[in-house]
Every structure is written in structure tokens, then in C-alpha cells.
């Protein structure tokens, strides 16, 4: 019993599979997450500081929207991350489903919570901006509707996850739902090209040069990195909490000193 109890250690094939499972074992993931947390947290603080200064002070006003366009410095990174987090969410679920690595389910669950928050933030900031600029809080155009479907996918996953008591069954069922929802990502991205939407087309994530002035683009990209660092920080905290909850009876948890 000196070795940490790894989940699903019944696999007999040595080589890559074993190394993979050891890497994904709860104690090593917990240790890694603990070490990485301050790095991500400080990077997030630094990027938010520089990014917000650039966005609110340095960046010039827009020729059409004046200062009101500055909401994009929150809206756009939140929308980017709402989709990027979904990719991590679905891949982590698939890892749990295929290789029976429970950490995958914990990463998926934590990511779903954060992803739902970003999706809500993107929808809310877009709505607040949309009322004065477009003339409506909400329009059923393809971009807005597909982003709302993304929020419903996240919320549906969270509801499903909390409705099933057995953690393994909940993780597997949720992972299937996450994979099914993956089809929504290209729909969100290309909705502004495929259909005639009220939402604008892509400014940055398109082929060719971004159609935004460099003084606005740089703070936007820094804010994008800030959001990514924020996601990773919260993910590390969530994974640590999830591991402690799941492995509360394991020997490696008992050896953790209470002072930490």
C-alpha cells in the first residue's frame, strides 16, 4: 500500500499505457496542479493589468462606435474562450471515456463550469452592447442562437452530471453529451459566413489580415491571453478540489499536511 492508489490500475499492458496512467494518477496530477497554480494566477493578473490599461487607456476610439466599442475587449475573449474551453471539455471527457482516467472527468466538469460562465459573459456583454448599437437586446440570428445553444449544452451537461450519483457513470454520460455538442463549434464559428446575420463577420480569426487597427488588436490579444490564464488558474483550483473530494479516503490525501 505504499504506492498511491491509481484508478483503473488493473491494466496489464506496460509501456505507453502504464506511463499514461501513472501521469494521470490523482497524486501526480494534484502535485502538478498545485505547482502550476501560482504561475497561471500571476500571469493572469499581469495580462489583465496590461490588457485593461491598453484597452481602456491606450486604444483609440472607433470611427463608428466611439468608446462603446471597448466592450469587445471583454466580449471577444469571453466568446473565444467559451469555445476553446469546450474543446478542452470534450477532449477531457473523451480521455476519461476511452482510457478510463477519472482525472479526465474532473477536468471536464471544472471546464464546463468555467465555460458556461464565459458563454454567459459573452452573451450578456453582447446584449448590453446590442441594445444601444443594434437597437435590440436579442436577435434570433445564427451567431447568437448557436452561442445560446452552447450555453444550454454546458448547463445540460452540469444538470446531467449532478443528476447521477455514481461519479463514474456521471462522467461517462457527460462525456458522450460533450462529444455530441462538439458539432456546434464549427456552426458558431462559421454562422456569420453561412447565413445572413446581424452579428458582424470575423475581424481577427479569418484568413488574411485582421480588419482592426493594430492599436486595438494588441490589447485585444493580450486580453485573450489574460482570459486563457484565468481559465487555467481556475481549472487548476477546480481540479485540486475535485481530486480531494473524489479521493478523500485515499492514503495520499491523508499524508497531505493540513497546514497546506
Amino acid at each position: 500500500m505504499s504506492l498511491p492508489r491509481s484508478d483503473q490500475s488493473g491494466h496489464s499492458d506496460i509501456s505507453l499505457g502504464t506511463a499514461f496512467h501513472r501521469l494521470g494518477s490523482p497524486p501526480s496530477v494534484y502535485r502538478l496542479a498545485t505547482q502550476l497554480t501560482p504561475w497561471f494566477a500571476w500571469a493572469a493578473v499581469a495580462c489583465f493589468g496590461i490588457g485593461l490599461y491598453g484597452a481602456l487607456v491606450v486604444a483609440p476610439p472607433d470611427y463608428q462606435q466611439g468608446h462603446a466599442y471597448r466592450i469587445i475587449f471583454v466580449h471577444v475573449p469571453a466568446a473565444w474562450l467559451s469555445m476553446a474551453v469546450y474543446v478542452v471539455f470534450a477532449i477531457a471527457g473523451a480521455v476519461g471515456l476511452i482510457w478510463h482516467i477519472k482525472v479526465g472527468f474532473i477536468v471536464a466538469r471544472t471546464s464546463a463550469l468555467i465555460g458556461a460562465t464565459y458563454t454567459f459573459l459573452a452573451l450578456a456583454t453582447g446584449s448590453i452592447w446590442g441594445k444601444p448599437m443594434w437597437g435590440a437586446w436579442w436577435v434570433w440570428d445564427a451567431r447568437l442562437t448557436s452561442e445560446l445553444v452552447l450555453l444550454l449544452l454546458y448547463l445540460g451537461y452540469l444538470a446531467l452530471d449532478s443528476a447521477i450519483d455514481d461519479r463514474r457513470t456521471a462522467g461517462r454520460a457527460g462525456a458522450v453529451l460533450a462529444l455530441v455538442g462538439l458539432v456546434n463549434l464549427p456552426i458558431i464559428h462559421y454562422s456569420v459566413e453561412w447565413w445572413n446575420t446581424l452579428h458582424q463577420g470575423a475581424t481577427v480569426t479569418k484568413l488574411g489580415a485582421p480588419s482592426i487597427h493594430i492599436d486595438m488588436l494588441v490589447p485585444l490579444l493580450i486580453m485573450g491571453i489574460a482570459f486563457k490564464m484565468h481559465y487555467l488558474t481556475v481549472l487548476m483550483l477546480g481540479v485540486r478540489a475535485g481530486l480531494l473530494k473524489q479521493e478523500k479516503r485515499a492514503s495520499w490525501v491523508k499524508t497531505l499536511s493540513p497546514a497546506r
Binding site: 483609440p60 472607433d62 463608428q64 453561412w194 482592426i212 486595438m216
Partner: protein, 134 residues
């Protein structure tokens, strides 16, 4: 198994969207209003560009303007607060009904903008360059 789920859902959704494609008709153009393609007496959307110099303010918040698709023109009447992006030459979408005289009574006016973001000075410089070219 996992691959099957992803591929299967993608194909199913793709087919459904392909079938819906014809129906996702966001708005009618002024030409469709004039030639009678658009139904009257029912709420529809009309999209087009605001004709320069056509905006006329009436009493209270009443306003009329002309929308064009560069082929036909339709006069739109609206009462309410126009969006900040509403201006001459701007592409907009309105929702409302056609009256018997061919005027469009809008209940909602939505302004569309493109994906370009730049400082006012850059826009002024661009306009000067274009004026010199012409």
C-alpha cells in the same frame, strides 16, 4: 465508438442545416417588396441601405427614411429610438408590416455594422486617399 458519435452527429446536423438553409431567410429586399414577392399584411423583415438625405424627423420620435438595395426603394416609417449605428448609407434591418400605400411601418429598426475597427483619424485619412483617387 467516440469517433462514430462525433462523425454521426456532424453528418446529421449538417443534413438538417442543409434542409433548413432555404428557410433561414433573414429579411426581404426592397426589390422583393416592390415586385410583390414579400407578403403584405403580415410581419416581415426588410433589409437595405439608408438612402442619403432621406431621413426626415417628424413629431415626437417619429421618423421616415428610404431604404434601397440599389435597384428599388421603399419608404419606411418608424416611431421610437433609433440605434446609435443608424446613419445615412448604413445597412439596416427593420421589422414591421407593409401598409396599403406601399409604405413600410416598422416596429423595430436594427443597425448592422461590419467587422472593421479603426480610429477616426485613420478613417479620415482613408477617405482623403479615396477622394484623391476619384
Amino acid at each position: 465508438m467516440v469517433g462514430l458519435i462525433v462523425v454521426g452527429c456532424t453528418i446529421a446536423t449538417g443534413l438538417a442545416l442543409l434542409a433548413l438553409r432555404e428557410n433561414i431567410n433573414l429579411f426581404f429586399s426592397p426589390s422583393q417588396i416592390v415586385d410583390g414577392t414579400a407578403p403584405s399584411n403580415t410581419t416581415i423583415r426588410l433589409g437595405g441601405m439608408v438612402v442619403s438625405g432621406s431621413i426626415q424627423r417628424g413629431e415626437n420620435l417619429g421618423v421616415t427614411f428610404v431604404l434601397t438595395d440599389l435597384a428599388e426603394q421603399v419608404t419606411v416609417a418608424y416611431e421610437g429610438i433609433l440605434p446609435d449605428l443608424f446613419r445615412e448609407g448604413q445597412g439596416i434591418v427593420t421589422q414591421g408590416k407593409l401598409d396599403s400605400s406601399g409604405r413600410f411601418l416598422a416596429q423595430q429598426v436594427l443597425a448592422k455594422h461590419d467587422e472593421t475597427y479603426m480610429p477616426p483619424e485613420v478613417n479620415d485619412a482613408l477617405r482623403k486617399v479615396m477622394a484623391v483617387d476619384q
